[in-house]
Symmetry: C2
Subunit: 346 residues, 2 copies
């Protein structure tokens, strides 16, 4: 804990070597192969490091090693707790592998995503996990071409030039709507958009499929489009829903994610609709706030942390294992029934 007067430059291995009276190679050995150096010198070196307040310079290590000790996750929407939970899963895995994790947020904007990716490639991160704005964007293909391992999260790979980790969204849509049919609803709204988001399309498709299979008329599954997957958009969908003529008004809504569902719920309550009696609601993702809503939300649960952990595992395998095979990991979503569909006595 003693300390040389700050001379403006952080002490390097060279300084440590000088202070301990050994060669620079020996210091490096103490750092990387403590076993090969004799106890006496090792202690001397360690003491010198402590005295000088030596800290390894990671950039120099990287330069030499050719790759950094970091992983990156570029998430689609930092404001959505779902992605935070995925990130948490990734961080756990990164931590276990003793890697740093860059968490970036594209906020749904392709140009911001692309800037992040550029920086990450420059940093020579070991791998990139990404929930992309557009899975077919050229800058993604570019990454793959460069050879940086990358894994798509929450989106199944179409091309197959890389790993991906996702939940079966079509199945999720089916489960949700089947639950509503089960509970006797005959007119149901699907709330979600924009259609450019694959997750929305697939959840909607699942809903449609099951609706048809039960022989329900297509016009009784009403699509309420939204411009984003946010609470605000959920509220506005609520307004439109409340404005429908009662003849057409659905008795239940399946929302493409929980944020929409919470917004819808809020508007419904404040408009005096009783949930679930006047309007049942199913969300998607099962974020913590879903259970915490004033009327706890029925939702389709995704294994959020596990999604992240698996993605990290795959990207690490790709980085380390020369004969890595790309993998498309699919998880099965599950319905969590709560009060918002009357599945639980309040």
């Amino acid at each position: 804990m003693t300390q040389q007067p700050r001379n403006g430059r952080a002490p390097s291995v060279k300084d440590v070597a000088a202070a301990a009276g050994v060669s620079l190679g020996t210091v490096s050995n103490v750092l990387n192969r403590p076993a090969v150096v004799s106890t006496a010198t090792r202690e001397r070196v360690e003491r010198a490091m402590a005295d000088l307040g030596f800290v390894r310079n990671e950039s120099a290590r990287q330069l030499r090693a050719g790759t950094s000790r970091a992983l990156a996750y570029v998430m689609l929407d930092g404001g959505n707790p779902f992605f935070q939970d995925v990130a948490e899963g990734i961080e756990i895995a990164a931590d276990a592998a003793d890697l740093s994790l860059f968490v970036c947020n594209s906020g749904g904007r392709a140009e911001r995503e692309s800037r992040h990716l550029d920086r990450l490639v420059q940093q020579r991160v070991q791998g990139i996990l990404i929930t992309p704005v557009d899975p077919d964007a050229p800058h993604l293909a570019e990454i793959a071409r460069r050879g940086t391992p990358f894994v798509m999260v929450d989106r199944l790979s179409t091309a197959g030039g890389h790993c991906s980790v996702a939940v079966d969204d079509v199945l999720g849509g089916r489960i949700a709507v089947e639950h509503l049919i089960d509970r006797g609803h005959e007119r149901v709204a699907f709330v979600g958009g924009p259609g450019s988001v694959g997750q929305v399309r697939e959840r909607c498709q699942g809903a449609r499929e099951v609706w048809e299979e039960f022989g329900r008329p297509a016009e009784d599954l009403i699509h309420l489009p939204t411009e984003a997957l946010t609470v605000g958009e959920g509220r506005s969908a609520g307004e439109r829903l409340a404005g429908l003529p009662s003849r057409r008004r659905p008795t239940a809504a399946f929302c493409a994610n929980d944020l929409l569902a919470l917004g819808l719920l809020q508007h419904a309550v404040s408009a005096g609709l009783r949930v679930p009696d006047d309007l049942a609601i199913v969300g998607f993702d099962d974020i913590d706030f879903a259970a915490a809503a004033a009327v706890p939300l029925t939702s389709v649960r995704q294994p959020r942390q596990e999604l992240g952990r698996t993605a990290a595992r795959l990207v690490l395998d790709e980085a380390a294992n020369p004969d890595h095979r790309h993998e498309q990991a699919t998880f099965v979503p599950a319905l969590v029934a709560r009060a918002s569909t009357g599945a639980v006595r309040r």
Copy 2:
């Protein structure tokens, strides 16, 4: 966009130089001082870079420059949207300065925080923003001693050896409780804990101060302690509150943050209490979910993004400006009145 066959190594300036038939110094000039190189050669070099798919190696730059082009934010609780918003503000500032941002999450665990800090110092980040688990922890002092600029976020510095950015939490507590007194409440609960969290202590103190100033008996301000600032703890506080004998049961609760308030709200609603008629609730932070709750939450607003932006500004100043003066930036919180205190007709 043409591309040499991958020979296993990413192309370097040297390769570009060879391909363009110029010296390595010239390539560097094209990269860093395009003005000094003639148009003809510049174009030749740029073409070579594109052909080879050249990407600057950030570690080598760093090594040479002695510092990285990155900032870091170590947040206290990634699950709390408040910190996400602060992070968003920081990211905006980092982006403007063309810096990468490491976002780390200590999750309230000192040992995890310390591991993150170690890594960040090794990376030679330009500066560290942190909402610490314990502002007096020795590893923080250590950072300062090493000379890495750092700024405390959402926590005022006591020692003053560094900048800090925070909201006046005592004032926030005062505002909240004053609002409740205004609305005629005579028995109020303060919900929050643990006491080791400075923010909680100060918000509580503000509440007490104003309560006394209005001449209210101390025993009518009831402290309901919690073990964390989470929705779950809010629910459990709700149970305890509901269990109080009606003689002592408060008609209003001031929660140390919005997560607690949402949990409390949820339990209250499911226990059949009407909010705000049977129980008024005030939260703290004004996260987006507060407005989105089924009974929109009255809350004490902090300028979340601005907190982040300011913190980033300060740390950048400290990194760049040799005669930087440490600054304690304090923001003024503001009450946002909503339905949960009956301040707005539903």
